[in-house]
């Protein structure tokens, strides 16, 4: 409530900034040779001092990747990706050996994160939020580690987890998204460089929000992070990721993988505010955001909830999904996707009901402006053994202007007669009447659009942790800039 009333003002303040995260930090980095081959995979693994089993896994993935065709079933259109024209490892030199404390971090890096609004320095941190900061290929800082350690929560870069708790990583890595899953996820398996690892021990309610900020800085560099979150029996964690990148004329690839696992009675709430550089108003540059996110409700009564606010990236291709294996488990997907100018998004979710009395809920809000094209693609699959399964899907699209498009592609496969599956969909435009009504009350057009869009997204915005709801609302306004008149 308070958050939304401030929106228009904040949007106004930020209106001149356009993409304010578009700066580049000139920092000395260590970079692997350009291109992709087996040596690069070995190079990355060696850089990280990885155990033999992981290197073997990477190499298997790489060999398999070579045989895979590009996925062509989505509605997104782009030139073929030249995988040899990119760097697969780039690390700020000062961080390459892993800083032992925040004092050892390059001040320029700290400054970068401050510009992004993410203070890493002890005294300035957001209270109640622990942050892992990933810069190009490596994690540069994780805050509040000690405090989390007191309750047994492990929150660290995945490369560090390989040293701290190698057995946990080995037990769970690749068990939700196998290395054969899809072209982008397989590439990630071969060349992933860093990402966050979270383990919540049995019965622990994580005392603070965990968050990771991803930043692509170097030119021609892809970012391939891998996130693995395990909520052991009866535990709870809320996790948030944010992403930004400098403005560049060429496209950059971001192919991440996120795996979530909940055991009996555990819950993971995963929120994303994705604000990669979207390209300019003519469609030049921008990030290709090809991400595989999947949660596995392994235990009974467990729950995984995805919330995403996707405003950036030239192309977004992602389907955060839930495999509902444990009886009575719950999967949720709340999504806001905004595309403006020439942005494309093909996004949605998959809810795979395997266990008895499993429920899923999908609320998707898509907003298209300019010449943007957007597709909601969702699968609800009820397997023969999913007695009493229940799904509710609501899929709303809002169009601004008359050159954009919205498409809804729901797939429903129901193999159990006791299941109840509901699907509702609407498409609407911001009407001339609404705009005139708001303007007649004194509200300028851009603020009026922001107000209508925030209202349209309310159900999803409410799902975000309070600290981030305000940020998300601001983003809504900025992303739609120039879409009126």
């Amino acid at each position: 409530m308070v958050a939304s009333t401030n929106t228009a003002q904040q949007v106004k303040e930020l209106a001149e900034e356009k993409y304010k995260y578009g700066f580049f930090t000139d920092i000395e980095s260590e970079t692997a040779p350009k291109g992709l081959n087996e040596d690069i995979v070995r190079f990355i693994s060696a850089k990280k001092n990885e155990p033999e089993w992981l290197l073997k896994w990477r190499l298997k993935a790489f060999k398999y990747w070579l045989t895979m065709p590009e996925p062509r079933w989505s509605k997104v259109i782009h030139d073929p990706i030249d995988y040899q024209d990119a760097y697969y490892y780039s690390a700020p030199k000062s961080a390459a050996d892993g800083p032992q404390s925040l004092d050892e971090i390059d001040p320029q890096l700290l400054e970068t994160y401050e510009k992004l609004g993410i203070p890493l320095k002890e005294q300035e941190r957001l209270s109640g939020v622990a942050v892992d900061a990933v810069f190009d290929s490596v994690s540069v800082a994780t805050t509040f580690k000690a405090k989390l350690g007191e309750v047994g929560v492990i929150f660290c870069p995945i490369s560090e987890a390989l040293e701290v708790c190698p057995d946990l990583v080995k037990k769970y890595l690749g068990t939700v998204v196998p290395y054969t899953d899809n072209k982008h996820a397989t590439l990630n398996s071969a060349v992933f460089t860093d990402g966050s690892f979270v383990y919540i021990p049995p019965g622990v309610r994580c005392p603070m929000e965990l968050s990771t900020y991803f930043r692509i800085n170097a030119a021609n560099t892809g970012q391939f992070e891998r996130t693995l979150i395990i909520a052991d029996k009866g535990s709870y964690v809320s996790y948030l990721e944010g992403c930004t990148a400098p403005m560049r004329d060429e496209h950059q690839l971001h192919a991440a993988v996120v795996e979530l696992i909940t055991l009996d009675d555990a819950e993971i709430k995963y929120s994303t505010i994705q604000n990669w550089y979207p390209g300019d108003e003519n469609g030049r540059g921008g990030i290709y955001n090809f991400v595989t996110k999947r949660g596995h409700c392994r235990g009974r009564n467990s729950k995984i909830s995805w919330t995403q606010v996707e405003t950036g990236a030239a192309i977004t291709w992602k389907y955060p999904s839930c495999i509902l294996q444990g009886d009575n488990s719950v999967g949720e997907f709340y999504s806001i996707a905004i595309t403006n100018n020439y942005q494309q998004a093909d996004t949605g979710t998959k809810m795979i009901h395997l266990g008895k009395n499993t429920t899923s809920r999908i609320i998707s809000k898509g907003i298209s402006a300019g010449r943007a094209n957007q597709t909601y693609r969702g699968l609800v699959r009820i397997s023969p053994k999913a007695e009493g399964a229940r799904n509710f899907t609501q899929c709303d699209s809002l169009l601004i202007g008359d050159r954009c498009g919205a498409h809804t592609v729901p797939y429903i496969e129901c193999k159990n007669k006791s299941a109840i599956v509901e699907h509702e969909a609407t498409t609407s435009k911001i009407s001339e009447d609404q705009l005139f009504y708001l303007r007649q009350r004194g509200i300028p057009p851009e603020e009026a659009v922001t107000l209508v869009v925030n209202g349209f997204c309310r159900e999803v915005l409410q799902q975000l942790p309070m600290e981030f709801a305000v940020e998300a609302q601001k983003l809504v306004g900025i992303s739609l800039e120039g879409s009126v008149g």
Binding site: T5, E432, Q440, I443, P445, G455
Partner: protein, 249 residues
Amino acid sequence: MLEIKNLHVSVEGKAILKGIDLSVQPGEIHAIMGPNGSGKSTLSHVIAGRDGYEITGGRIIYQGEDLTGLAPEIRAAKGIFLAFQYPVEIPGVANTTFLKEALNAIRRYHGEDELDAMQFVKMMREKAKELGIPEDMLKRAVNVGFSGGEKKRNEILQMAILNPRLAILDETDSGLDIDAMKIVAEGVNNMRAPERSTLIITHYQRLLDYIIPDKVHVLAHGRIQRSGGKELALELEEKGYAEFGEAAA
């Protein structure tokens, strides 16, 4: 306050208003009456600055300034308020949020400090109480699921909060039962002030039983056919608009 001089307006090439002259002084309430399709709503929308209306001749002078070319939100900031015949629904946006945004946008325009949430809610509650508007209506999304009467009362609430210099009520009485109409009339009467002018646009005379106008104008075929005092409304009630149909033919 408002001087309209020889105003000609077309919509999609079709002439709707064909030479309107109107002069409203501060503190006055004028009623504009006329049959359906006479151009009443066009007149209210043109004063408020809605797109899609082409002014082909004449001028609208408000507080000494020609309004031509000013955006609707600027006119609103300068004190023009239009109570809509069909108030628009804004799903997901609470009435309180909407009105706070509106009031603060206007305050910003005038270089005044914005009200914070606490100050605003306090003021809104007071106004709502005066108008007999229940609290839950403030929390609900703007006009969504409101009955016809609630929508019109919501317009009056907005008017009370935005405190305009020139209020235009476009067929505010349409679709209201007698109780709702009394509430609306009371709201308008309470806001009667020496520095405020009101334009009531209506088809029927009955609202004018509760809001006594200083002047009544009959609009038909795009022109003001007759002007007079409040007794003109009663005469129309008796004789209907037939006379003006012939006069214009």
